[in-house]
């Protein structure tokens, strides 16, 4: 047997990123039943609670019933959670307990490859979560079908690649898994509450609106609402640009932080 000849060619960057994505994909889909069903169940619980309960008490918002308003925002919250859990608790477990990165980094992967691949995987997972929730809401006729809705998985992906590096940055400071709670309650919960998912932010005090604009979620919400209602404004270009720039900057910082934690 030949042990010692380099008859394969060193993999190109695309293949290296794909190999990381593929690893996460295979491990996730191994338990497809337990991993894949929850995103479909969440909107059903929501519909039961809203349709039978809370919805009746609340007035219409922006020319639609409250349940419809909320239903358009709901898939985004699923996308946020998918990427956030993947790259906070998931990453922490892979880093500290399962030692997955120790094994992956013995392959032909740099730390940059590894974590950019992971962010792309988180984007994919968010796209899937968003699509699953939206699918159920469409099938149940909670949201009327529009052709532009078919583009919303892309928003799921964008939310994923924004929240994955953001989570990685926080994770890079964390020594004990309990500390992650600060991030979830201090950062993620306020964003979900005040980004136009549950109620419009237009009526909030001006100073609050300024702060909200700084955070990434509101921009994704703007784009998603436009796609779901097929009503577009010029300001969406700014929203999209914000998402792209935020992703690039956050990814750069996240990879640098993680590299420092892993290599020094």
């Amino acid at each position: 047997m030949n042990f010692n000849s380099l008859d394969t060619v060193q993999p190109k960057i695309f293949l290296r990123l794909y190999s990381v994505w593929y690893r996460h994909f295979r491990v996730y889909t191994k338990n497809i039943v337990s991993n894949g069903i929850p995103p479909f169940i969440k909107p059903l619980i929501f519909l039961a609670g809203m349709g039978l309960g809370l919805g009746g008490y609340i007035l219409d918002i922006e020319n639609m019933s409250y349940i419809q308003y909320l239903a358009i925002g709901l898939p985004l919250s699923s996308a946020v959670f998918a990427a956030t859990f993947e790259c906070s608790i998931g990453t922490f477990i892979r880093l500290e307990f399962a030692k997955t990165y120790d094994s992956m980094l013995t392959g032909s992967l740099s730390i940059e490859n590894l974590f950019i691949g992971e962010i792309i995987w988180a984007g994919t997972k968010s796209a899937f979560y968003l699509s699953a929730v939206l699918f159920v809401l469409l099938v149940c006729h909670v949201i009327p079908m529009k052709a532009t809705i078919l583009f919303t998985p892309a928003i799921g992906f964008i939310v994923g690649v924004m929240f994955a590096p953001l989570s990685l940055i926080f994770m890079s400071f964390v020594k004990s898994i309990n500390t992650l709670d600060f991030y979830l309650t201090g950062m993620i919960m306020p964003m979900l509450m005040f980004s136009g998912i549950i109620f419009p932010i237009a009526n909030l005090p001006k100073w609050m609106q300024v702060i909200i604009e700084i955070f990434p979620l509101v921009h994704a919400v703007n784009i998603e609402r436009a796609l779901c209602t097929s009503s577009f404004m010029v300001s969406l270009i700014w929203d999209l640009m914000y998402c792209v720039i935020f992703t690039l900057v956050a990814t750069y910082i996240a990879v640098r932080r993680i590299k420092k934690r892993l290599m020094y």
Partner: protein, 314 residues
Amino acid sequence: MRNLIAVKNVSKTYKTDSDKKFKAVDNMSFNVEETSCFGFLGPNGAGKTTMMKMMYSRLERDVNVDSIIDVFGFDPTKNPLKIKFASGVVPQEDNLDEEINVFQNLLIYSKFHGMSKRDAGKRIDELLEFMELSEKKRVDVRTLSGGMKRRLIIVRALLHKPRLLILDEPTTGLDPQVRHTIWNKLRELKENGTTILLTTHYMDEAYQMCDNIIIMNKGKKIIEGSPKVLLRNNLEKYVLELIKVEKNLLARLDIDKKFVREDNIHKPLCLYSNNFDVLRKIADALQNGEHYLRRTNLEDLFMKLTGRSLNEFQ
């Protein structure tokens, strides 16, 4: 023979939680010849793993103008991928993906090296057979024994036909059968031209496997060389261990101290000598107490060099 690895003046300082600095590796220098087996020995916390990790670019060494790590012509700081692509690593912990089966674990890993599915499939079958794991191909990793997991990680490290195999305590916690199997396989790899770097706590492992060893303590190199030569040059041939210490034993038996070296700092009392008959005579004259007369081994040398008491990491 050509050097495959050259390390010069390499140090590694960690910042601990309390912002204190801790020097894990302190000014190490050594060379590793091609197709040899090179071993790092030392107590826990001596810096063996850190040294290895700096070589395959898992850790960054301290910045220092005259510090060099050269692995087949590449610097791990500048060209990590070139080094990783030609090296296989067996880390200290078993970090396989437990939920998926043996084949899937290996297939996923083969992608990290950019192997095609067809090449990987063929190579996986070859290596599973080589490591005697063929019948476990479709078994979930969590059901494997410790010895099987260890062998599987060696298979994983060999998938892309590396020139250099780095093993961090490959046989810790394994039974003698598995250890001997792994040793035989490693010898076979070496004969086929693979250079092997390993850390170990087992002195017999180092003695049997390694052409050259370094004994490290507290981040520093203490001694380097072939285990047989080191043993011959640094220690007497025989040792008599005495559990119960008898005062003035040598005087009572009228034995000249120039034939026997006494190490009485720790228990058991050890009498070293190149003259077997002298030690035999002492052993025979003992009135009571257990004793053990034997050839000295690498462990005695290790203890002599690194001390018998525990350090703060052990």
